[in-house]
Symmetry: C2
Subunit: 251 residues, 2 copies
């Protein structure tokens, strides 16, 4: 059975998509079969793999809302990474989900159709703790929390962890895989301060791998590439490969 991992944090811009995309690429390089599910209406993960999100006939919103639309109809592949894309129609799905029975477990019900085909399923989430992220957490065994090195991110962790605890009451499988420090720059005091605070509060729940700030990570999506494709020898790609190895040890 696949390890299902939600990559979430309601703080915006902390590196959720960059982590979902590059951890998928890293695990694939290590020989794992990976499905990346895009649960963000922005569709950033889908875009990075070159999917034209504006012309999709089916996307994650159909999978969540329509019992007759099966998961296998919404899977694209790039190399040995499979992607289940989203687009802004997911904003309407979010509103409609609020009125549905079993609104929090729509993804969990559908993911069973494809789970056995993969070693890992990663789920990229929007910057919120609403029904889309709840669906991802209800379907998952693990969650990774990317945290960029800023004051707002530190305070935001408490809010995300509170939502995880709510979900853990219903999904007994859910555990925290780790807190991932992103955009780390050892020359800045604030980076070292945030890292020290996180290690102090969360101890070994903080990944040993920190993702360093690397302009190649910002440039790669514009070329519709993962960092590993764009700049194999760069900081970003080696950090995400190190993270992939650490994830394999922790699951």
């Amino acid at each position: 059975m696949a390890h299902i991992i939600t990559i979430g944090n309601q703080k915006g811009g902390c590196g959720k998509t960059t982590t979902a995309v590059n951890l998928s690429a890293g695990l694939a390089v290590l020989g794992k079969r990976v499905l990346l599910i895009d649960m963000d209406p922005q569709g950033n993960s889908s875009l990075t793999f070159g999917i034209n999100i504006e012309d999709l006939h089916i996307s994650m919103s159909d999978i969540l809302l329509d019992d007759n639309v099966h998961f296998k109809y919404n899977i694209f592949s790039k190399g040995n990474i499979h992607i289940a894309p989203s687009n802004p129609t997911l904003n309407y799905a979010e509103e409609r989900l609020h009125t549905m029975e079993g609104k929090a477990t729509r993804l969990k019900e559908k993911i069973g159709e494809v789970e056995s085909n993969y070693d890992f399923i990663l789920i990229d989430c929007p910057p919120s703790i609403g029904i889309l992220t709840t669906n991802a957490l209800m379907a998952s065994h693990w969650t990774i929390l990317p945290v960029d090195v800023g004051f707002y991110s530190l305070v935001g962790i408490k809010q995300y962890l509170a939502r995880i605890e709510d979900v853990m009451e219903q999904n007994k499988n859910l555990k925290i895989l780790g807190i991932l420090v992103t955009m780390y720059n050892e020359r800045n005091n604030i980076s070292r301060e945030v890292m020290a605070k996180l290690k102090g509060s969360f101890k070994d729940k903080v990944f040993n791998t920190a993702i360093r700030r690397d302009i190649k990570l910002t440039e790669a999506p514009g070329h519709l590439q993962t960092a590993i494709e764009y700049m194999w020898r760069g900081r970003g790609s080696s950090d995400y490969l190190a993270l992939s190895n650490e994830v394999l040890k922790r699951v």
Copy 2:
């Protein structure tokens, strides 16, 4: 009457809160009476002004949901800046708003109670185009779109502009005050590329002022200060003062 400005973009981490906080401070330095409304459940703007968001008896969620709770009961002041704070209870308000009559104009109805006391009302929004941002846009005359220099932000503008156009059909006062480039670093190709693309597509709608990357802007909130208080002579504070002047010319 006050100029009411929504600071929004569903792309996370593009500098909405940093702009809301420091533009408020800049306009106040220029002698304007400013109210900052925090419409983000994270409560980052509120936190920056030292408000203990966990112990609030009243917050923006009460203003939106309860006809009997008046705006004036939810206003704190720091110097000559007033703040209407939020906290994570706004997540529940968002869910409940979906079931209410006139869900999109709750803020517009209440803002009338205090509008005449201010020259500017700025509204910090969450990273989404849901009901909270719609409430802010329905109550506003203007919107500012912070855009950080990355690929995902460029593609996200289209989605936010689509939502603005929807709202403009009902709120005839709403206009785009400007697109604000944030985290600009002239040494990076991607910064120059994003700036060129924005000026190409949006011409004079792009503010002449770009907010340069400045670590002091990341450090200031941790000291519960605006950049103007924390580092008067820094890049960040002078860029936000320049923006404040440009806003005064544009309204």
